[in-house]
């Protein structure tokens, strides 16, 4: 058995090599781009949110490392069918986890597969890879909220 960096779990490899949510979405209600200029990671996240504020569909496209891509795929899986406010709260949970501030297994359970990225907290240079999708989602939802409030 080859030695494995704990971050590269089978779940991560599966989501990065065979992503379920990497496609161009038709009739997205909002789209947002996130980049890590120093890594070359470039992610475009698309959501279809219905009138009740429920995320009916999530998809992403872009280039980047296995960590950023798998993170985007796991996040898309998790937030599909979820209320947008709830998804926004999860962005903060993920951010706290990636920075080593949230370790409570019960809280981390809310992140589903994405909880497997917990070990990134010990790899400071990779935190932004794992966070890219979540940061993009957070920015998108904040913008949407801002737009809605301005109406």
């Amino acid at each position: 058995m080859a030695p494995i960096n704990p971050l590269y779990t089978p779940a991560l490899m599966e989501h990065s090599s065979d992503p379920d949510y990497k496609y161009e979405m038709e009739c997205a209600t909002c789209t947002h781009e996130g980049v890590n200029p120093s890594c070359g990671d470039d992610l475009t996240l698309s959501l279809r949110i219905n009138d009740k504020g429920v995320i009916e569909e999530a998809a992403w496209q872009g280039i980047g490392c296995a960590v950023s891509q798998a993170s985007a795929d796991m996040m898309s899986d998790l937030i599909t069918g979820m209320d947008a406010h709830e998804a926004r709260d999860l962005c903060e949970v993920f951010k706290r986890m990636a920075r080593g501030e949230e370790k409570d297994p019960e809280v981390l359970e809310e992140l589903g597969d994405a909880a497997c990225l917990q070990s990134v907290a010990r790899m400071p240079a990779r935190v932004k890879c794992a966070e890219l999708a979540w940061r993009t989602l957070g920015e998108m939802l904040d913008e949407r909220k801002g737009t809605a409030a301005g109406k």
């Binding site: 080859a2 030695p3 494995i4 890594c39 070359g40 980047g64 296995a66």
Partner: protein, 442 residues
């Protein structure tokens, strides 16, 4: 009576520095990369037998005698240098003076006073840029020439200087592909009558290629321009003679040549340093101060405000002694043998994309590559699982990586004299494992 400190500072210090000799010195097996007479002399490597350290271009490991020198300074000579009138302070002052003379000698500088101690090559290049800005009074229409291969430390100071003055920043570019050499035509085309300053990295920290500094300096001087050389990646891997290169200023960091972190060198020709304004103001750098005025100390103190890292200077002295004990020719022979083997092994892997020349003789310390379709950050993180340490990313040379195209980042394996054949075999094993993980072959 117990002697608290040496009365004959020179004798004591000389004994200390003379102690920083590699046991492998004079060993005919130095160039045999199947053997490694050095590893045991590097505490971190000796204590981590599983570690394959291939990131020496970022920072080299230090031999035990360099660490001992750092400690010995504080145990036997510690006092604030320069100003004290008692023997201990004089010893500290002399330790700096000897280190200064040694650094000058090591790069072929004619005078010790032309060596300014700074924190690192980055600070040296910032000082050079600020100083030459003071001398040149750049205006719109003037040009500053650097190369596309510069480390950010030799790029941003000039970029921002040009932005502030309206001068134009011009990039020398190597031929893309092949050996990545800057051609004579390129030098003639880019360096001309408008050129006021040329600042060039002697060796690229990404491609490992040595730039034609002599030809560049010759052309620059014909045009009346100043020549600054970033030697951070050259000093550890080749004999350097600043006069032979035609440099007016030369920068390097101690930590890339087995010395401590936090000390570096800016060498400059006396008349340039004397004409330059100081960058930091304060203690030690003045001749006299009144309520309304101050006059600067002579060079090099003019540029060394505040208490200097005397222990660091002493340890740098030791590191240079260690390198000299091996002999630069022997060190280069071993590193070239390592690079030949590295390139040969990498050629065997069909999924390795070379970034830089295929000719190992063109690589001085650094070798950059990509693993087809796998992000360099993944490669490096996964190699860590194999205890193989390499760098991945843009290597503080983002414009170069952007210009080269592709992912905008690369993997980089870089070597030091303490590496051996096994390190490279382990890198290749690790790469096979990484490839297998992404392609289901393990």
């Amino acid at each position: 009576m117990a002697r608290l400190y040496s009365i004959d500072a020179t004798e004591e210090a000389n004994l200390g520095i003379a102690g920083c000799v590699s046991a492998a010195a004079g060993n005919p097996e130095v160039a045999d990369i199947a053997k490694n007479p050095f590893r045991a002399e590097f505490a971190l490597l000796a204590n981590s037998p599983e570690l394959v350290y291939l990131d020496s271009a970022a920072t080299e490991q230090r031999p035990a005698c360099v660490l001992d020198a750092q400690r010995r300074f504080y145990e036997t000579m510690n006092a604030n240098p320069l100003r004290g009138l008692y023997r201990l302070s004089i010893e500290a002052t002399e330790a700096i003076a000897r280190a200064r003379a040694h650094a000058a000698r090591f790069i072929g500088a004619p005078e010790a006073d032309e060596v300014v101690f700074v924190r690192n090559a980055s600070e040296a290049l910032n000082l050079a840029a600020k100083g030459l800005a003071g001398i040149c009074d750049l205006k719109p229409g003037d040009e500053v020439v650097i190369s596309i291969m510069e480390h950010h430390s030799n790029l941003i100071p000039w970029q921002q200087l040009c932005r502030a003055t309206g001068a134009t920043l011009v990039y020398l570019r190597p031929e893309k592909g092949g050996d990545y050499v800057i051609s004579g035509e390129e030098i003639e085309a880019k360096i001309g009558p408008k050129t006021r300053i040329v600042s060039i990295g002697q060796v690229s920290n990404v491609l490992g290629v040595e730039n034609p500094v002599r030809a560049i300096a010759k052309r620059a001087h014909e045009m009346g321009a100043y020549v600054v050389v970033d030697g951070a990646q050259a000093v550890p891997h080749m004999a350097v003679d600043v006069r032979d290169l035609g440099a007016d200023m030369y920068a390097f960091s101690a930590h890339k040549i087995m010395g401590p972190m936090g000390i570096g060198v800016l060498w400059g020709k006396r008349e340039i340093l004397e004409a330059m304004p100081p960058m930091l103001l304060g203690g030690e750098m003045i001749d006299w101060v009144s309520e309304t005025e101050a006059a600067w100390a002579p060079i090099p103190e003019k540029f060394e405000a505040g208490t200097q890292d005397a222990a660091g200077a002493y340890a740098l002295d030791a590191a240079l002694t260690y390198v000299e004990s091996i002999g630069m020719d022997n060190l280069v022979a071993r590193e070239h043998a390592l690079m030949r083997y590295l390139v040969t092994r990498m050629e065997e892997l069909p999924y390795i994309e070379f970034m830089g020349s295929h000719d190992p003789a063109r690589h001085h310390g650094a070798f950059s590559f990509n693993v087809a379709g796998i992000h360099p950050h993944d490669v490096s993180s996964l190699l860590d699982g194999y205890n193989v340490a390499i760098r991945a990313g843009h290597h503080c040379a983002q414009p170069l990586l952007t210009w080269l195209g592709g992912m905008g980042s690369s993997c980089r394996a870089s070597i030091g004299v303490y590496n051996d054949k096994n390190d490279i075999d382990r890198l290749v094993e690790g790469l096979e494992g990484v490839w297998g993980m992404f392609h289901g072959t393990n």
